[in-house]
């Protein structure tokens, strides 16, 4: 997984040598879990960010990297759980920290418009750490998951080089080791600088 990421990063770096400009974006991000992630933690994540960098290889095609973080949290009421011949009761606290690290490709529908929309795809890895805390004990699962991330976004230009951005991303990490597939929507709002 890490080798694939390094190869992808090197490939992207070589493409970026022919850059015609770049976008750098920082966004505050909220997350909504789906599937297994939602089963583990149902509330929204209110803590997260995205850092996106795109090098324009053509006027309407950007290639670059994404780094994101979202932490999900849920407090599970006092209950009894069974594992074989052992039953245990207590309150549980669930945490999921997700760190997608992706190479990304965007297509800008109308890059010169004041309101510019784009679609994109990210491929890479998502490092996930899931904790179940009970009393003073924690049960932890972590995994590097192969990750795909489709995205749509809007840049609203406030000046020639600065825009407000709104992004919608769906991160999907495939099953890896003991960790089942994990997916979540992330909605980001932030600032994009055009170079």
């Amino acid at each position: 997984m890490k080798k694939l990421l390094i190869i992808a990063l090197l490939s992207v770096s070589s493409v970026m040598a022919f850059s015609q400009g770049s976008y750098t974006s920082l966004q505050y991000s909220v997350g909504i879990g789906t599937g297994n992630m939602h089963d583990f933690i149902s509330p929204m994540s209110w803590r997260g960010f995205n850092i996106d960098y795109r090098s324009l290889v053509q006027q309407n095609v950007g290639v670059g990297v994404d780094f994101s973080w979202n932490v999900f949290y849920d407090e599970i009421p006092y209950d009894t759980y069974t594992s074989g011949n052992v039953d245990y009761s207590g309150k549980q606290y669930h945490y999921s920290n997700n760190f997608p690290m992706l190479v990304a490709f965007d297509y800008y529908v109308d890059p010169d418009a004041d309101l510019s929309t784009y679609v994109g795809l990210g491929i890479g890895t998502m490092y996930t750490i899931q904790n179940t805390d009970m009393s003073m004990y924690t049960f932890e699962i972590d995994a590097w998951q192969f990750c795909l991330r489709p995205e749509v976004g809007i840049n609203v230009y406030a000046s020639e080089s600065t825009s407000l951005c709104l992004t919608g991303k769906y991160f999907y990490g495939f099953k890896s080791g003991d960790l089942d597939a994990q997916g979540y929507f992330a909605i980001g709002v932030g600032l994009t600088l055009k170079d």
């Binding site: 750098t24 920082l26 505050y28 803590r47 997260g48 960010f49 850092i51 973080w69 932490v71 949290y73 407090e75 009894t80 011949n85 052992v86 039953d87 245990y88 009761s89 207590g90 309150k91 606290y93 945490y95 805390d133 009970m134 009393s135 003073m136 004990y137 080089s161 600065t162 600032l191 600088l193």
Partner: protein, 208 residues
């Protein structure tokens, strides 16, 4: 300049977001946990008498060093033993109150309560200063803090020699463990609640 502003915003937002990392436990009793284990092959319904000492032994390690065992103060032990006895009674068991070994050997189950505590020390100090004395010791020499957890163990075993293991030692048929953070306030209801929970989640102990 704009890039510098973006990097500054990034650092600031990172600090802000880590600063409001979601919390967990708010109250001490949120840390209480009860665990029970049972031997699924043992027929608890086959018996109806049990014996239990009128003291709670403290697992301290001094018996390993050849000293006499220590016991929990009666003021704390009495409500705990009462709670255990009430739960056993509710499940249909009859307590045989005796100190005669021969009588104890004839009951269906023996229930042994025990207690232990564990203290964890946490140290904060300028650990780098032994090597790099030129750096100002930020923590001013450091400090320590600690927390203590307490565990009440309840063990049921059958005194029948036929139920012993190959070495002749009694086999645990049921264990209930209640663990929590000790506060020093002697809140016995937390312990009795945990005892009630241990028996509630063990319906297979019910006998006729």
């Amino acid at each position: 300049m704009k890039k510098h502003a973006l990097i500054f915003s990034l650092a600031l937002s990172g600090l802000f977001l880590w600063g409001c990392y979601p919390g967990g436990v708010e109250y001490v009793d949120d840390m209480d946990v009860v665990a029970t284990y049972h031997n699924a092959d043992y027929d608890f319904a086959a018996g109806n008498t049990y014996a239990m000492p009128d003291k709670i032994v403290k697992i301290t390690g001094n018996k390993i060093e050849g000293e006499l065992p220590e016991f929990m103060l009666d003021i704390y032990a009495a409500p705990i033993l009462t709670a255990i006895a009430k739960n056993m009674d509710d499940l249909g068991w009859t307590r045989v109150e005796t100190t005669d070994s021969a009588v104890i050997a004839g009951v269906d189950l023996i229930l042994l309560p025990a207690a232990m505590t564990s203290t964890t020390l946490v140290y904060y100090y300028d650990y780098w200063s032994y090597w790099y004395g030129g750096y100002y010791p930020y923590y001013g020499g450091g400090y320590t803090t600690s927390y203590t957890t307490g565990t009440l163990l309840m063990t049921l075993f059958d005194p029948d020699p036929n139920e012993a293991d190959f070495g002749g030692n009694p086999v645990t048929q049921w264990t209930g463990a209640a663990n929590g953070l000790l506060t020093g306030y002697g809140n016995v209801s937390r312990v009795t609640d945990a005892i009630n929970q241990a028996f509630t989640q063990s319906p297979y102990l019910k006998t006729n």
